[in-house]
Amino acid sequence: MKRTVLVVDDSDTVRRMLRWTLDPLGIRVLEAANGALALETLDREAVDLVIADLNMPVMDGIELIRSIRALPSIAELPVLMLTTEQREQDVQTALNAGASLYLTKPSTPAVIRYKVLALLNGAGGGPSVAEAGS
């Protein structure tokens, strides 16, 4: 069965880029433009992994992670935060909120594919880790 990744970013370009990046893995990609829309999607779709930006309108990535962790049915869902924000306090806030992995841009398709596969296979979903993107 195809694995499903929900990409949450307010940039159309980034969503298309991640779709293009994950396409060779045969992954089904769903999209949402902010955290609130992502929660709506999670309410009706079975999702295996969320990739979320930090800075988004309406509901940012931190609020999204906190909401996911507060909902028992999806509380264990791995969340990869992919952002340009590199400050230590942002990394800590995201990890404290429950991000499974914090990856900073610029990154490469190969790194993203590797991390996504690791999280989908449970290898990266343990202790939270912050990493440079490339």
């Binding site: 940039s11 159309d12 370009t13 980034v14 298309r16 880029m17 293009w20 396409d23 060779p24 930090l54 800075n55 988004m56 309108p57 940012d60 990535g61 931190i62 609020e63 340009t84 924000e85 400050r87 306090q89 942002d90 806030t93 841009k105 610029p106 990154s107 490469t108 398709p109």
Partner: protein, 340 residues
Amino acid sequence: MTTATQDRDGSLREIVSSDATRRGRAARSLARWGDSEVVRALAAALADDDRNVSEAAASSLLMIGGADTVAFLLPLLRSDAPGTRNRAAQLLERLGKAEPDALMKLSADPDPRMRLFAANILAGTGDHDLAPRLIEMLRDSDVNVQDAAVVGLGRMRAPAAVPALSARLSGSDPWSCFSTVDALGSIGTPAALRALLDAAPAAEPEMRGAFVEAIGATGLPEGVAGLLDLLSRFLDLGAAVARALLGPLASAVGEARFQTPGVVGLLADILAKGTAEEVLRALESPAVAIRAAAIEATRVRGLTEAVPALCRLRSDADPVIRSAAAAALTAFERARKERL
């Protein structure tokens, strides 16, 4: 003291009260005034934990606008709270057009995070007069700022950026290349399309699908010709090209020059492998080549759900479609009799 002044002063007290309903009411009420004290209070309320209050403050600041509001919003981009800096950035996209000097200053900030916000905000204004600054930012020392400028120019659909973006197509970083290809597709002018068509053959194999999608996004008839040429060189692009021809280029495919057996065969092959819904939708396409391909796909797949549409297509304006629909229905009937 007038009633209006009492209202103003009362609202300034209420906006910091412990009751969220009262804070929200005060935030809405303060839109009637636009002095510095009010703007400062509303800007502070953007960080309110209660979403109704912060959204009311944002609405009021939007109504007030002006240089004072922009000046109070800019420092909020440095907030540690993502929600606060995002709300400030959103408001600046709406208000910054009137204060371009403030945005220019932000775009030269020593902190790359601020320059990145500046690129997003400049793009969000949609003001093409600000495109030259975004084009300059393509040479920023920070790659994320460069990328934000690329994405911003695409979002702004700035034709003036085509030469500078074209020069970036030969870069080796895949994501940077993707952003540039995507931006050129969004700009969608003949010059942008030409840049994409010129660069696509030399692109890394993994990038070619992105080129096809961007060429399709232009919606230009020359994109159809270009994609067919690209396909003749890279046969593995069949599915991507067909998706573009059936999607954003569908109306361009309607031109008579594309009604060739090769194009119809390509589209039919892809439709035959797609979903029934895609075939049924393609039967309704205004483009003759797409209708012809869909009819062929119904025959290959034995798609009986298509019979009502095929019956309608027997009265199509195009004689080729009338004939193909009739032939498909005959084939369905023959197959039905054989099954009996």
